[in-house]
Amino acid sequence: MRLKLIFLAIGFSIVFFAKAQTPSLLLLSTDTAWNRKGMMILAEGDAGISTNALNVDFLQKSILGGHLERDELKDLYDRLPTRSKIGYAAHSDVTFMNFADTLFGNPNLGIRANLSLNYEGFCGFHPRAFGLVYLGNGEFNPGRVDLGEFIYRNQAWQKIGFGLFNKSTLTGFTLSLVAGQSFQSLTLNEAQFYTSPAGDSLTLSVDGSYMRSDANRRGLANGSGLGACLDFDWNVTLADKSALMSFSARNLGFVAWNRKTETRALISDFQWNGLDVTDWLSGATDTLQLPSWVDTVQAPGTRKETFKLLPASFYFRYMKRITKSSYVESGFSYFPNRVALPMAYAGLTHMLNAQFSLGERISYGGYGNFAVGVEIQWLSRNSWFVRAGSAQLEGWLLPSARGRNVFFNVGKSF
């Protein structure tokens, strides 16, 4: 299901797009015709997967199908970092910004409304967990395999919000009502897998917990959870547009998942010795049925209303003009969870004219390693705005790249 959601989100991403911070061209362009009109509709979308461990070939086959060759998996396994991680996200978002009206007697204050679909998740794992799943326990010597810490989160939610903003700097905030769609969480503080020397007994020892939202509800805004959140942008631009500083926050909020949310403590040894066919041999049953792991590995669970924070993120950006038409840009993003690192980036943005900019960046952190990104922004005279790019361009070019990302914005002023 998670993979399907990503698949769909990637499909959406070509239609809508873009996220994170306010597009720099809207703040730095000397052409301000777009915000002198009455309204702007900005559709944004983005989707991407980033990892410090896996490559695009693996991800592509995992998502779109294909056979994962053992040699490739072995090669991948040999090069996995101790703290392997993968993160993915897909958003689509429509924002209505009203420039026409005066609010609270302040002509520079506008009102905006926002509607968005959001899918985010991440997983942190030890290489041996990967090896056990993809290479099998036969890859390891009999005995105990320490699988380390394993963290997995997946969350889907929709937002509808209203907020205020500064018409010239687009500084503002949006308060949103959040409809939780689904939530899954598996946290294993430690896990060990034991294969007996003869191979006649397998034991999975885990210490952790599992949580999932109401599994009987599917689709958008299905009532699984309800919450609220705050998004804000703070943009400061020097009067001559020679510098820009932005600080943004997304998804500062929570979802109260309904009382059918299930939580299971996983502190146990799950042992598998094979199916006991002694009764079968005495004629008790005629057909030998292999058991399923689902039936074998069980732990008692509880169902109750559960409060969970949304996956918040914070962004800082500083741009300074270094030539007549170029800006140097640096910044960082912070995702407060146990898996992601803060991501820092630096790059250049070239204002080819008042309507067109081209940017290139190099980044490090987040769920991945180094990444190279590019983006173009175009602001037409009849007030169309288009932004497209990728924060991990190499993912579209190299099978060995550690992720892939795309974002796309389309805006129109009326």
């Binding site: 993979l3 698949f7 990637i10 499909g11 991403s13 070509i14 239609v15 086959k61 995992s62 998502i63 779109l64 199908g65 294909g66 056979h67 994962l68 053992r70 998996l73 799943v133 993809y134 290479l135 099998g136 326990n137 036969g138 890859e139 009999p142 294969t195 003869a198 191979g199 006649d200 007994s201 397998l202 598998w272 010795n273 094979g274 199916l275 006991d276 066919v277 002694t278 079968w280 041999l281 005495s282 004629g283 005629d286 057909t287 030998l288 049925q289 292999l290 037409s380 009849n382 169309w384 288009v386 389309v410």
Partner: protein, 522 residues
């Protein structure tokens, strides 16, 4: 860039992107898995579920068979055939008008049961009917009473009373009825009390006291009485039953070995108690002419040989102590020392045929006519076999079909199955595994040799031996409808017969060692 071109560009990009996102095949990979599939314990207790298998105090399995060879039907000694008796004509005391309450007939009589051989003095019935029919020409209502002093039910004398109606224009009236004989005791010693096959009774007829008019008896009127014993069944009889010679030739289904597969067995130490119980109060002489068995599968027959069993066997009469029977019994133990019992049993018979003669009262009436029989417990011949499973086996084949579920048939594994067996039996075993198809079977694995347990410090202890067997996972195995496993057991060369004990088990584990194909998304 013109706006329409932008839209076309975006649309093309979208189509290209969506096309690239299409899932054409499942995601799959082949991890190297070493995991247990199944385990279990095989004991003889599971295979020998039949109650004929029992352990002794040392845990040695025995085959214990109680087989009733024949239940000699001696009911014929005490049979009363269906009999109709017409009583002598009754003389009427009056002629003319007879007032109400007047007796017109009163007589003491006895009837005789004609039996060709038996002289019954007493019988107890367990079923049947005594039917009566009265023909009366007397114009009047009459009451008839038949009192039988020797007819008792639980010690209480019984009598029969019925009404006779006028002929109503006919030559005579007919009155019919019946009397249930079940549970009745009949004394058949007649009016003297010392005779046999004779039933005394008193017969009386009076004009009904409540009759509306007096009865009119004409000259020559006679009242005719006819009684019939219909399907009389005797529960107990006493008397003298006569001399008889019965020949018998009975074939008995013998299913004790039906659950044991075909093989060459060397049964050692078997014994059989052959017994004849006589619960009848008659002397008898049994003369077996032949006892044979028959193995239907092998079409082989073995005649039982014994030093004394085929001589005439005298069976003294049982004693009746007020209903408590002291049976007489003849018993002889057959073993390898006095008979060919081993060969007889090693034929694993399906049927046993027993032929001979039985003489009853060969010395005549030496009991002063006090022979007795309780027909539900007469004369039985039984066989009680005790075969300790200390056996030698050659080519004992155990086989079974393992029905595979769809999930197992589609088990996507390349590699091998590993069968670990810990054998507690001192038996060699060769395992063969076949894949069953609609049109036949394919041999998947053969010559999988299972090592026997090693004899321990004493006769009943064995040191289990572990064996690892590799079974390749072939296409034939994966495409099989079902699996057929065949295990051939043999006692090791030169070891002689080995005991099968309850403590002996075969532990086994089935592991998979290979590349398991995992896939999802299609």
């Amino acid at each position: 860039m013109k706006f329409p071109r932008l839209r076309i560009f975006i649309a093309c990009l979208a189509l290209l992107f969506l096309q690239s996102c299409k899932r054409d095949e499942p995601t799959s990979w082949d991890p190297d898995v070493r995991a247990p599939l199944a385990y279990g314990r095989l004991t003889l207790g599971q295979l020998l579920v039949d109650s004929i298998f029992q352990q002794d105090e040392e845990g040695l399995w025995h085959v214990i068979v109680d087989q009733k060879l024949t239940d000699f039907d001696l009911d014929s000694l005490a049979e009363i055939p269906d009999t109709t008796i017409v009583l002598p004509p009754n003389t009427l005391f009056f002629v003319g008008s007879v007032a109400q309450g007047q007796t017109i007939v009163s007589s003491n009589q006895q009837i005789t049961l004609n039996h060709p051989t038996a002289q019954f003095k007493q019988v107890r019935m367990k079923g049947g009917k005594l039917k009566y029919k009265i023909r009366s020409p007397v114009e009047g209502y009459l009451n008839c009473t038949v009192t039988v002093p020797g007819l008792t039910l639980n010690g209480v004398a019984q009598s029969i009373a019925f009404q006779i109606t006028p002929p109503d224009g006919q030559p005579y009236s007919t009155t019919e009825g019946y009397f249930d004989l079940a549970g009745l005791d009949l004394s058949l010693t007649g009016q003297t009390g010392f005779s046999f096959n004779r039933l005394a009774y008193q017969f009386g007829i009076v004009v009904a006291p409540d009759a509306p008019i007096p009865a009119t008896v004409s000259v020559g009127d006679q009242i005719q009485v006819e009684i019939t014993f219909e399907d009389p069944q005797i529960d107990y009889a006493r008397g003298y039953f006569g001399q008889h010679l019965f020949s018998f030739d009975e074939e008995v289904d013998f299913d004790a070995f039906s659950s044991i597969p075909e093989a060459a067995f060397d049964l050692n130490g078997a014994s059989t108690l052959f017994s004849i119980r006589n619960a009848v109060g008659v002397d008898a002489q049994m003369d077996f002419s032949q006892i044979t068995n028959w193995n239907e599968n092998q079409q082989t027959q073995v005649n039982l040989q014994h030093t004394s069993l085929f001589n005439p066997i005298n069976l003294s009469r049982a004693l009746d102590n007020g209903g408590l029977i002291s049976e007489s019994e003849y018993a002889v133990t057959l073993n390898a020392g006095n008979s060919n019992l081993d060969a007889f049993l090693e034929n694993l018979p399906n049927k046993i045929r027993i032929q001979g003669d039985l003489r009853v009262n060969p010395l005549g009436n030496i009991s002063a006519s006090n022979d007795f029989i309780y027909t539900n417990n007469a004369l039985n011949a039984d066989l009680r076999m005790d075969i300790p499973l200390r056996i030698g086996i050659q080519n004992l084949i155990l086989s079974d079909t393992i029905a595979l579920s769809d999930g197992e048939r589609e088990l996507p594994i390349e590699g091998k199955l590993v069968l670990w067996i810990k054998n507690g039996f001192a038996l060699d075993a060769n395992v063969r595994l076949y894949a069953l198809r609609n049109d036949g079977r394919d041999l998947i694995a053969s010559d999988l040799h299972l090592l026997p347990a090693i004899p321990g410090g004493d006769e009943a202890s064995f040191i289990p031996v572990e064996t690892w067997l590799d079974i390749p996972i072939t296409d034939a195995l994966l495409q099989a409808n079902d699996l057929f496993i065949e295990v051939t057991l043999e006692t090791p060369d030169g070891s002689g017969p080995v005991g099968l004990y309850a403590s002996q088990v075969i532990d086994f584990k089935l592991l998979v060692d290979g590349n398991y194909s995992i896939q999802y998304g299609k």
